[in-house]
Amino acid sequence: MSRQSVAKAHQKIQELSWEPAYHEPVSQYGTDYTFRKAQKKDPLKQVLRSYFPMQEEKDHRVYGASDGAIRGNMFRQVQERWLEWQKLFLSIIPLPEISAARAMPLLFRTVPNPELHNGQAIQMIDEVRHSTIQQNLKRLYMNNYIDPAGFNSSLRNFQSDYCGTIGRQFAEGFITGDAITAASIYLTIVAETAFTNTLFVAMPAEAAANGDYLLPTVFHSVQSDESRHISNGYATLLMALADEDNHQLLARDLRYAWWNNHRVVDAAIGTFIEYGTKDRRKDRESYAEMWRRWIYDDYYRSYLVPLEKYGLEIPHDLIEESWNQIWNKGYVHEVAQFFATGWLANYWRIDPMTDKDFEWFEYKYPGWYDKYGAWWENYNRLSRPNGHKPIVFEDVDYEYPHRCWTCMVPCLVREDMVMAKVDGQWRTYCHEMCKWTDETAFRPTYQGRQTPNMGKLIGHREWETLYHGWNWADVVSDMGFVRDDGKTMVAQPHLDLNPDKMWTLDHLRKCPPLASPNVLLNEMSDDERTAFAARYVKGGPAGRPAPADA
């Protein structure tokens, strides 16, 4: 269809909607926002007659490239260091995608604008596309990459592993709670508009640099849909801004959504890009540089700030604090170090860093070696079983962290850890903002205002709790992270596939039992707890315990 005829066709399909004359459609999701009916235009301007062939053509390109990758033996050039992290990423991402599809109905009754519903329905089926095309990519990796372990058990792993649980927020946050908070602010305004840039643009570029051109093929195809979804969010946001009563809630939700996305996405994607690559050219962008470009400049300065004049309260302080976390407090490095510390609880292999990596990190993040270098040298030294235990049990100047109740990433920037007794339980938080999210934002009142539709944080949010007192061999066995010989672990702290160099359940059997930091925290007396917190915040960087005289 020509552009002109698409415009005419789009105008015509506006005749399809009708105002109910006899019965209102069911209303199943609530919001504390208020909307006036407004003639906002459907920003997608998609007509299915052109949409379906367009998507089919995009599919032809994706599947053609997939076929070419197999015929051209792409996997002879793929870096294992990179593909191993895809076992985590591709176990997570299909659920957020499909959850975005499931989120669209939350907006049908709460945003009274039938023209926008058309765009939301198209986003729904786009998301079905993304979820299944990503499952398919993972299937291709499983079939053609040297080590299928972790891909073959992908969704079981994702659903029971603590990293998967962190990633799951990026799905469940879309489909529950206040409909606008979830499906509009958290999903489209922040996750899709800001963070898909690093997820679906920056990360695929790194994949290509590591010999994997299928990830860019699939994810750039996905991203070409995301750009349309961004328009969906923008139209809803403008409608919300039109009512001043919504401004307080918008400010709350932007703060929650921004901070949670930063904690979750920067943790994962930052680690993949910085620690999953073998490309150590000095002129390739670091994650911090990418973040500055894609998120700070493109999203914050170009998209968010111009909305201030319409009354949107922008969380400038949090955006600066996120940058401070990434640049000054080593957030990504702390997370990568934690993933590697806890390698035995995961389902992928983590390659040790080498001198070449050290040099690059020092160049990109001056001072990196003094903080993290010795620990990574220890990681390398302890990577093959040789009479010692996994690094988490060895004396390498690292204190196992407490977990943040809200974002579920551990409290790694030790100085920022805060503690509170909430709903009768002592909880630790990685930052004051995560404490605010639990204590203040996800509550039925907010700043004296009734917010009966706001969601709740639920579930067993500290993974370690479930396995408190268990032997590590039983933990890994229970989670199913064991290979088909019944004893070799899926996870390994190196890339050597020689069975003699691989860790087994027998090695874990000799380790101390798992202790839940949260269970222990709640067993402490008040004085002990106060002393613990005072000491914890003096620890770090790089997980170092507080000095004895602190």
Binding site: F52, Y145, Q159, G459
Partner: protein, 395 residues
Amino acid sequence: MTTTQDSPKFERSVPKPVFTDAEAGAKEFPDSTLRHYNYYKPQKRKQSHYEDVTVDVQPDPRHYLSQGWLYGFADGRGGYPLDWTALKAWGSDKPSPQRGPGTGGMMVKDWPATGWHEFRDPNEEWELTLYRYNSNVVRQVTQNVEAAKQSKAFEQWNPNWVRFVEHHVGAWMHVDHGLGLYLFANANRRAPTNMHNNAISVNSMHRIRAAQDLALYNLTLSEEIEGFDGGAHLQTWNDDPAWQGVRDVAEQLTAIDDWCEAIFAANVVFEPLVGELFRSQLVQQASPRNGDFVTPTVIGAAEYDFAERDLRYTTAMFELLTNDKEFADHNKAILTDWLGSWTEKALGAARKLQPLWSQPDAKPPRFEDGLDRVKNRFSGILGQLGLEAPKELAQ
């Protein structure tokens, strides 16, 4: 011979290809040959491509979701509560594992834990199939209409048929659109498995596409037929008494809270008794007699969507529930209630459409004959589901 001066060497900064030998089969080690998703049991002997990209993407606390749902609604419930429908699949009443300090993951080894997870879409829809199918449909419909334009086919239509198409064929677009968005797309948030929700979302796109097919066909006719009133369908939908029964029922369908009832009422009752009556027993029959070979190709695409694909997954979905090893009787009792109520409403709407049969110059087969045919087909669908035809069918 000429000599050229060497240009200064400039090496671009690009990642260098490295031979890693990281392809399947390069080494042998534990798991090196385990190249299938090992976390679910296939419906048949071998895992299908469809299952690989669909099964277990939506997690379940009764399976591997050891930490449970993390975000809930204001009432503290997260995920996809089973009581969002009154129907039950075996295992539904068994509580989720109660996990806590030191319990471990309590992964459910006896899987599936509920009968809900036995459902597989017989159409095996995922992104590749849904885009291929719908692209083929829109291409074919576009070509048919284009060929008709070029052969001046619309000139053969008599004025009464032009009025019929502008008013009545046009009015059906509103049914497709309303149900596509507010019943099917809405229901894609409600079902407890990814297999259900993906099938429902594909159904939603069939309906929205069919609505747009009719709207764009209407646009073409406005351009091709002098005096064709492109807005007449709105007037019919809003005011024509013959259509108010259909509209009333379509709106009631979007007002259903129970997702199973919504799918059942729409695809098992309303579509066979009203949709097929209108499409196959009226429009498809009357069109050729009135010189119109184009409209049946547009309407026929929607008919195929329903008859060959949407009804197929719906039947598979409800067959499992009426044959459920624990709750077959419970489900049949509820479905029978729904049947009674929705059959009465659908037949009421169908009968109100009766005046349409007398409007074309060349008449289609009698309304009562058409109604008998759809009733027979409806009874056949119910038979496949193990349900008795309701007494309301005798109306």
